[in-house]
Amino acid sequence: MRTYEVMFIVRPELLEEDVDKLIATMQGHATTAGATVLSTEKMGKRRLAYDVNKCSDGQYVLFVVSGDGKAIHELERRMRVAEQVLKFITVRTDEEQQRLDKVRKIRAAHTKRPPAEAAAPAAPAATENPVASA
């Protein structure tokens, strides 16, 4: 199962409950197609960098979806048909996440080893001094 991030822009003039209804519809489409929506995030209204379908603002919504390619293809098709969705972009994130996890693990291993080695010689040195002075 692959993980994807789907970000889409909704028309700005829609009300809060209409946006929620649209999000629920999209989630339903994803589930019917065989994908699971891991998280949803409404990123709020933003000014667009250029006009899309004659709108200069839009509401951004982010889905994190887990599924296979066919399910995502189906979800994209539904988004293309929905006239309230202005633009969408799908990014595959599982490979990038794997790479980031690997890098973080290597970095954690690097930072954990030197402090451990520094602590061991420091501890016996600290205990020796009071014994010598006494």
Partner: protein, 111 residues
């Protein structure tokens, strides 16, 4: 006379690399004179890659504020010889900027 011979033979050795940015034989070659475009002969200074120094792994297309530092006023992507970014990070940065442009977070061409 003996003194003249000694003066001619060996000149005093030059101090080694007093100017580190101008090697005797440029193996890497100062990138400056070829692409500097004008009278600039040497590297200005060694620019470091911001992502390598701050150890930022994740160059995300959603992070508009960070991406905007690498985009010129007209919306063009700034070349890495000006920003000092290293090649793998510049490639990731470019794809992040292009994704952000597609989702209208950054403009394709601004005023």
């Amino acid at each position: 006379m003996a003194d003249d011979n000694q003066e001619v033979s060996t000149p005093a050795p030059r101090p080694y690399s007093s100017r580190p940015d101008r090697p005797d034989r440029p193996e890497r070659g100062p990138g400056g004179p070829r692409e500097g475009g004008g009278g600039r002969k040497f590297f200005r200074r060694k620019k470091v890659c911001k992502f390598c120094v701050e150890k930022i792994d994740d160059i995300n297309y959603k992070d508009v504020r960070m991406l905007q530092q690498f985009v010129a006023e007209k919306g063009k992507i700034v070349p890495r010889r000006l920003t000092g970014v290293c090649t793998p990070h510049q490639r990731r940065l470019t794809s992040a900027i292009k994704r952000a442009r597609n989702i209208a977070l950054l403009p394709f061409a601004a005023r």
